[in-house]
Symmetry: none
Subunit: 219 residues, 4 copies
């Protein structure tokens, strides 16, 4: 996934370079162990320039989250409107996420960005970042609502287990996929304490998520 797919003037290019560097460093070291110096070095720019394009360190991860969430939601919107069957929609919803997250190695970082970034959203005090805050909250709500609504539809149609509230189901699906991607990330990046004999891999994850969803289908 590209950080931006829009037309880029030179300034936007620099912004993009910094964001990609931030994605990598945040992903590798985690938000707090990542320093702006490292990001600047990775991006090949000076520390000062980061603050020209971004309010502060928080703004960097917030901006990354926003890019990811907007990309996700817009893709969802495009894809999901073309499909009418609610169960197929559920499959599509997670397939879109898979496709984006498993795209390339760096992309696995996106999961971490979200995991680390979300709890930080409420720290946004600066007036200037208020707008981004609103957008993130909105996008996140959109993402959660989307899947919850589809599940609700499927339940209403009688084709999906309706003994569990749709939001709970969406949390289960979300949690399952999150940990699978995180396991894959750890396996790829760090010699890890979670390792095991049978390693997790992409095709297993996709297949597993499909199986999981299918189990909620009611014949």
């Amino acid at each position: 996934m590209h950080i931006t797919g829009m037309k880029l003037d030179k300034a936007d290019m620099k912004r993009k370079v910094i964001l990609r560097a931030a994605l990598k460093i945040f992903g590798e070291k985690g938000y707090h162990y990542a320093t702006l110096s490292q990001i600047a070095k990775e991006a090949g720019v000076s520390r000062g320039l980061i603050h020209f394009y971004f309010e502060n360190k928080l703004d960097l991860i917030i901006s990354l989250m926003l890019i990811f969430l907007e990309k996700l939601n817009s893709t969802h919107q495009q894809v999901l409107t073309r499909e009418k069957d609610p169960v197929k929609k559920i499959h599509l919803y997670f397939k879109v996420i898979s496709d984006i997250i498993l795209n390339d190695d760096d992309s696995l970082c996106w999961g971490n960005i979200l995991k680390e970034g979300l709890p930080k959203v409420q720290m946004l005090k600066s007036e200037k970042l208020r707008e981004k805050y609103e957008r993130i909250v909105g996008e996140n709500k959109k993402l959660v609502t989307a899947i919850t609504d589809i599940i609700k539809q499927a339940q209403t149609k009688g084709v999906f287990d309706n003994s569990i509230p749709p939001q709970i189901i969406s949390f289960m699906f979300g949690g399952a996929s999150q940990l699978l991607y995180y396991g894959l990330f750890l396996q790829r990046t760090r010699s890890n304490i979670v390792t095991s004999d049978e390693s997790i891999n992409e095709s297993y994850i996709k297949k597993a998520m499909e199986s999981l969803i299918n189990k909620f289908i009611v014949q």
Copy 2:
């Protein structure tokens, strides 16, 4: 869950007081935003005393993890050996976790401790913390292996879906429960961006996990 259930002399009491304060502050603010000053204040002791009982800040979260993991594994061992049916064992495994995590309000912090602490385990360099490192890795492996093995048993017996590798299933179950508890935690502590109309609650979570597991049963 109590931080220690052993007989306590006065020195152990203070250790416990500090650990409980650390659990709360780490849980509320996250490891990096928590300061030793805050923990000392919460515990009602001086900053220096923390370093009398603990090597450093990392030692605090590491010690908390160890307590949690050891409690979890020892309870699992007690409970699981009494049950022979593998499917019931799987249910028991997650019930034990539920019971411990949902015990009291502070207990919800445990999930966060683990989430934040595990990636830090590999940072342990100090010779003095090496031993704790080994124990954590061991306990974690034990925890993961336990559920994976039970699932494998159930699959071998032909009573559990064997189209998915047992480790992948354990990751799905683990991820699902993790996110549910985290959602509950956020709901209780912070005015949150993940909130929604239908709130998550304890009984829903337990019921949901049971349903989830049952869906993998093969008749």
Copy 3:
């Protein structure tokens, strides 16, 4: 002696200002009683800037030592190659040291820097300071070897007492001059316990060192 006699751009100027402040504070209070705050205040800069130019506190005294030793050795090299008579060389060797140490009031601090700094050299662990470590060891060896070699020459030529190993002689000469300069330093800076009626002064010191050396001449 100036801390650097090279052409200075603005950045080097600040480095020099900090080093001069460090020289003064270290000299006055000793390494351990000197704080970075005091040095920063003396230099008129912030505490942080010291760490911009120097790795850490140790790097400050190490850098000072290096400047002093390099200055000493380079001056020795210039001066000593022009003189062929070994006895005159010995005189010159100590005259160079005198000239540098007695140059101005602050210069007396150099003796202290060396006295305190040398035992700290072996503490250098940081990879970044490794290079400085090598250079210091090299310069120090050069300094000691230089005088030992000249004495050896003089002994071989039969003009200098050869009943004592050259290194022992160089230690005696070195020790004698060290204590004389240290006495002068104490006299000038601190109300002292070593003071006496007859005070030490510069001309006495130079004359004394010359006499001392001459006593080892064999006619």
Copy 4:
């Protein structure tokens, strides 16, 4: 040299044990890098007990200095009064020092104690240590005066070089012996940057000091 040769009750024994531990640790690590914990451990007592017998950390090194200086002066007094020839007296003066300092391995630490301790004497503020302060200053003055006076005598008698003030000569002799003992200390304790091919040893040092003194004799 024993820290005290007096009759010892049990309390004095503990004091002695602590002082000997302090001597070793101060000698090995230097005053600032030595911690009271290490000294307590070496002495086999608790940290608290050190403060029962000694005012504070400074008191420890001060007490060691006092023991050393008193021992030195009393031995000097005994030995020097028996000798009438001033030149022989000068030899005796340094022989006494040699005998005490080279006595055993730990004894080499005494030199360091003095080197580190003397600049600290003037820090003595506490009323309780005032008396020790006066005694140290007195003993130190006695030590310096003793040799200066003997040299003066020798000069007056016309048997010793009188072109240099006696105090300067005493500084030269003192400095020379100090550096020789320090070189020996470094050689024995630390892998050092001052090392050289020909190692310093005790008999060389004694012989060298004798030669040095003899060179000032006027026939």
